[in-house]
């Protein structure tokens, strides 16, 4: 069993598992951090961006100045943004039988794989995953295609050129494999290869392997996968969340989640002198304390409001999706673990509190709030929090805008997946009411959605306002426009909630920036404490994970708690590596037909252990094995007149069983006598005895582990003696 690791990104995995006779791709993540190396694509001509100076080498050579532009000391590629694809050369992708998708964020590379590698297999995913994944892809394609850019830079990718460039361009990996975005046609064709599956649905692959998606608790329709045969089991855990699990223990969970060092923010920008460093941050830590006694007010400096919100978000968060199915992961031979939280030190609850208070503060001061986000996922949570928050915070007159080509679809789709929601939300649907309260926000005109800033939006646009829009990388989409529009005023705030992109890098091409920047990444995926609890509970024999998880984060090398700790130590992988997974298959399922089973004669050899010898015909079809009774010996047909000698040649394939045991000489002799042999003489030898039947000129050598009958050619006699010997032996 082998694992081919095609992506090095721990939360956007792409691995290929070879298991029995099947080749299974696990997720198809697309690393979009590559786009951070590019200049933003403005929707409206931006003089600032188009007037950025070209970059030249230290020796003044300016041959790259068309491709590379400089902005506040950073160098960017001026070109259509490109994405870092999974490895396509490590394994022949046309041999992939199936692709299993765990959540909508992990399928963004699908069109590259299904459309350009000769892939002919099937993709399996849940319905919400496909529908929302489609929206994410549609948005991406739309963002890129609606601002056609003539230039596609390639000179800088030359290896000899690249090493001359400043960081981070110099260190960008696999630039030669970076590709432009796919088209909608490719998306549609890729999605048509998906087969919808439900949680706990058992899917047979070629009769050899069974795959089953399990609820992973992270997003609508998100799943972990079990890949198993009758005797081996691999669990693929990708993007899971325990925040939704059992309301009882989750309080405990949250306690553990909270930052063990209150007050210290691990995610603070390192350079305090940066001009855009957020001054408005009010880190509300000390979660543990608040958790233990919900009635007590937070410590000094924490507003009561924030505290209430935090509580609110917890109950909500806990209840978004169906909870993670942990029990089914038990007894795995191998557990492949990917998609842990990208912000292990931040508490999602606290982040939501900060999000709301900063949002309110900005708006009250007459500023606008920009929330770069994906069109689905965290935004539902944020809208639900705001729904309960805006009236009490006096924000009811502030317009909330959600701008995305798929905004409407996303809001509508979120309401129709009742079956994939947690119990609380389900019971709303049973009333019947929409499960998410943004329906009411829309009805009351508090939330408005638009496909883009063009058209209706420009008529309705009022300030101050709150805008949710993409893309979180700040390289394309309507967000680019708002960054340009609002960046110059310190009244405005941009709040980062998506954890996929470093906010400092995202902001780099907009520098210098007067706008406030708040970083409240909300990542509900498993943290290391939860992982170790999970591993203790499900007890896999081996854990496989990206190498990033087997050591503390580079920036926090002293935090030994920010890594996976398990026994035996986790096997780690990196991009383009092939791992041989450490387990040996020993058994395979076979079915014994009832007629054959009836003919078996079990014999108890030791207490509790019975044996039966089996001689049967093996039939194998579609990787399923069946044992059928041997055919009855055919009676010689009397019709045949002439018999050839060779017709009598026995079939040596009729195997005799092995024998075991030993023959007690005295009893054997007695038995012989009972059967009419009278002239028996027994001689002792070094290793046993020789029994002589004098008249028959027959000699039987008996030793501990062997018996040898030497006789004249008297078949009757031989068979009689054989049967007497066999009485003392066991057959296998």
């Amino acid at each position: 069993m082998k694992l081919y690791c095609l992506s090095g990104h721990p939360t956007l995995p792409c691995n290929v598992l070879k298991f029995k006779s099947t080749t299974i791709m696990l997720d198809c993540g697309l690393d979009m951090t590559s786009t951070l190396s590019f200049l933003p694509l403005p929707l409206v001509q931006s003089p600032r961006l188009s007037n950025l100076p070209g970059w030249s080498l230290k020796d003044g050579n300016a041959f790259l100045d068309k491709e590379l532009k400089e902005c506040s000391g950073h160098v960017f590629v001026d070109s259509v943004p490109e994405f870092c694809l999974p490895e396509t050369e490590l394994i022949d992708l046309s041999t992939v039988d199936v692709i299993l998708i765990s959540n909508y964020h992990c399928m963004m590379a699908l069109p590259y794989i299904t459309e350009h590698t000769g892939f002919t297999g099937t993709v399996y995913a849940t319905e919400p995953t496909v529908q929302i994944g489609r929206l994410l892809m549609e948005e991406l394609v739309n963002f890129i295609e609606r601002v056609p850019k003539a230039q596609s830079a390639s000179l800088w990718k030359n290896k000899d050129v690249q090493r001359l460039l400043p960081a981070p361009l110099k260190d960008a990996v696999e630039v030669s494999t970076w590709r432009r975005c796919y088209t909608m046609q490719e998306v549609n064709s890729a999605l048509s290869k998906i087969q919808l599956v439900g949680y706990s649905q058992k899917i047979e692959l070629f009769g050899a392997v069974q795959v089953t998606p399990l609820s992973s608790g992270y997003a609508l329709g998100s799943s972990n996968w079990i890949i198993q045969s009758h005797y081996e089991k691999v669990s693929y855990v990708s993007g899971s969340s325990l925040l939704t699990t059992h309301p009882q223990p989750s309080r405990h969970c949250h306690e553990m989640l909270s930052n063990p060092e209150p007050g210290e923010s691990q995610e603070k920008p390192r350079d305090e002198s940066q001009p855009w460093r957020n001054k408005a941050r009010h880190p509300h830590r000390n979660r543990g304390q608040k958790q233990t006694d919900p009635r007590s007010k937070g410590p000094a400096g924490t507003s009561h409001m924030t505290y209430q919100l935090t509580e609110l978000f917890q109950t909500h968060e806990r209840s978004l999706n169906e909870p993670m199915d942990q029990a089914s992961l038990k007894n795995s031979d191998v557990l492949i673990l990917t998609g842990l939280t990208q912000i292990p030190t931040a508490n999602p609850d606290g982040m939501v509190g900060e999000f709301c208070s900063n949002l309110a503060l900005t708006v009250r001061n007459g500023g606008n709030v920009l929330v770069p986000c994906y069109p689905s996922g965290v935004i539902y949570d944020l809208l639900e929090c705001l729904y309960q928050y805006i009236d009490s915070a006096g924000l009811s007159s502030v317009p909330f805008y959600f701008i995305s080509p798929v905004a409407n679809s996303s809001l509508e789709f979120s309401q129709i997946f009742a079956e994939w929601l947690c119990h609380n939300k389900q019971s709303k649907v049973y009333l019947p009411e929409p499960p998410f309260p943004h329906a009411e926000l829309i009805q009351t005109n508090k939330l408005k959605h638009y496909p883009s800033i063009h058209g209706d939006f420009s008529n309705d646009f009022r300030q101050p306002c709150v805008v949710f829009t993409g893309h979180p990388s700040l390289r394309f989409g309507d967000v680019v426009h708002f960054m340009e529009l609002w960046g110059k005023s310190s009244l405005n705030t941009v709040i980062f909630t998506e954890p996929d992109f470093s906010y400092l890098e995202a902001l780099a091409p907009y520098q210098p920036l007067a706008m406030k920047c708040i970083y409240c990444p909300i990542d509900t995926r498993l943290n290391f404490i939860q992982v170790s609890k999970l591993l203790k509970e499900v007890q896999p024999l081996h854990v496989v994970c990206p190498e990033q998880y087997t050591q503390p984060p580079p920036a926090q090398s002293h935090r030994m708690d920010l890594m996976i700790d398990c026994q035996p130590p986790a096997m780690s992988y990196r991009r383009a590596e092939v791992l041989a997974l450490p387990f040996k298959r020993r058994y395979e399922k076979i079915e014994i037909m009832p007629e054959l089973a009836d003919s078996l004669v079990p014999m108890e050899i030791k207490p509790g252990i019975s044996l039966a010898t089996v001689s049967a015909v093996l039939h194998t079809k579609d990787n399923k094995h069946v044992l059928q009774p041997p055919p009855r010996p055919t009676q010689p047909t009397s019709g045949k007149k002439r018999k050839r000698v060779s017709d009598d040649v026995p079939d040596c394939k009729v195997l005799k069983p092995l024998l075991s045991g030993s023959i007690p000489v005295e009893q054997f002799v007695q038995t012989l006598e009972k059967h009419g042999f009278n002239d028996i003489k027994v001689e002792d030898t070094a290793k046993g005895h020789i029994v002589l039947l004098q008249e028959a000129e027959t000699l039987i050598q008996i030793e501990e582990d062997s018996t040898h009958i030497i006789c004249d050619n008297d078949e009757m006699l031989r068979v009689r003696l054989r049967d007497l010997v066999l009485k003392f032996l066991q057959k296998f």
Binding site: I416, I590, T613, C652, D712, L726
Partner: protein, 609 residues
Amino acid sequence: MPEIRVTPLGAGQDVGRSCILVSIAGKNIMLDCGMHMGFNDDRRFPDFSYITQNGRLTDFLDCVIISHFHLDHCGALPYLSEMVGYDGPIYMTHPTQAICPILLEDYRKLAVDRKGEANFFTSQMVKDCMKKVVAVHLHQTVQVDDELEIKAYYAGHVLGAAMFQIRVGSESVVYTGDYNMTPDRHLGSALACPPLSRAAWIDKCRPNLLITESTYATTIRDSKRCRERDFLKKVHEAVERGGKVLIPVFALGRAQELCILLETFWERMDLKAPIYFSTGLTEKANHYYKLFITWTNQKIRKTFVQRNMFEFKHIKAFDRAFADNPGPMVVFATPGMLHAGQSLQIFRKWAGNEKNMVIMPGYCVQGTVGHKILSGQRKLEMEGRQLEVKMQVEYMSFSAHADAKGIMQLARQAEPDNVLLVHGEAKKMEFLKQKMEQELRVSCFMPANGETVTLPTSPSIPVGISLGLLKREMAQGLLPDAKRPRLLHGTLVMKDSTFRLVSSEQALKELGLAEHQLRFTCRVHLHDARKEQETVMRVYSHLKSILKDRCVQHLPDGSVTVESVLVQTTTPSEDPSTKVLLVSWTYQDEELGSYLTSLLKKGLPQAPS
């Protein structure tokens, strides 16, 4: 002998009160738990005393499965769980779980509040009953316990309707509930395969038994389009002549399909006559369709973001007073069989006018007003008064059941060993039973209520075979040779409850036992005065010529081997004109050894001179 037993407590040669008991591999499952619309007495609910006279049903049932929310499939559920006493799991799909309690409550109100029945289940009982429900996803394999698993398939029919596969080990039963094989305007069909089209189907799961409904066992319906055109034409004509059209429906199901149909027709024809939908449940019902849109057909699902098909422009809520308004109108009113409620009230008001029309879009159970007028009765006795039906009575089979063709189609798809018919009339079943037996060559049963069908099964036994043994076998070629079947030989080790098939050597090794070798050596005397080597050569060529496909070797030490049987030639010192062949073999080669001795005993052929 393992067997599957099936006993209908309801729906045996009858429509209504579906409740079928299945015993499979020691597990007892109740399929549906419905009420009978034709009865108002004890016969309304299944007779659960069949299962046990005293004692709670929980001890006798492993689970209850509800196929869909129609009352003839779930109406007795609170009675079962709260009044008779059952605390085990009740499985149904999410939409069924959402809608079922509403219909139950509605039914309760009708029975208790309007008809004043005592000893009926209460609102609280409906709630308590629903707490025992476990919702299932389509295609999800639900493990009821370690051995029993169930799986739901899409059935069409009404929102959330499902077929269920029940499996224990290698034995399985499929229960269809009610289903339709042609897609609706609002639901998918039970056919078609799952990719994005969703409309689920059943895979070739080869159950031991398929239990299928047979409402339309003898009907082969014409194309759906024709029926739709016909329906629209009739409604249109009635409205044109100023008549009122009553369409009795059940709140969920056909109603939505006909609404979509009329809505689009009204829009296209720019008609002005009002269309009403009797209130309450229906608006709610449409809302359920909106929220469970993933259960509807692909077209509706695809376009729902732009336009939700369940938001109607022309169809408005009905008020009781509207029935007396002058002028034409179309009213959808519940219930669908004209046995009670608003549809019956309106019917009484309009029945006397020949301009009016009632369209029965579905099946009517015996004893209901619907059934009476459909069978041609025009004089009805109602609450002691005579009612003469002058209005036009039309029947259009829109009810979402499979017709004979569809039932056969489903059976072909699932490939069952046996078929059992329920939910139909005996006469019609008889026809379908013959058809099944002739065309599909399966045994077909149609038990009456309380009658048990027993099917012996012979499940195969799964064991683990050591990979070494399997690979050794497979390496010798996969295709079995019919003339000379190759036998796999091994030892089945049964320890605790695990069965493993290993090679005999491995079994010995695992048990710490040594092999005991049993060897035979037979002396064959030959008259042959030739030199020993020549005799050896003669033996060798003789054996070689006969045993063409065996490995016959002449070894340097003067012995001949046939596979593992050794033939040595000696010359007895006392008689050099004879030769003694020592044929030696192990027990495992007995057939060959014994054959060789008898062959050699016949002597060697004369050497070619």
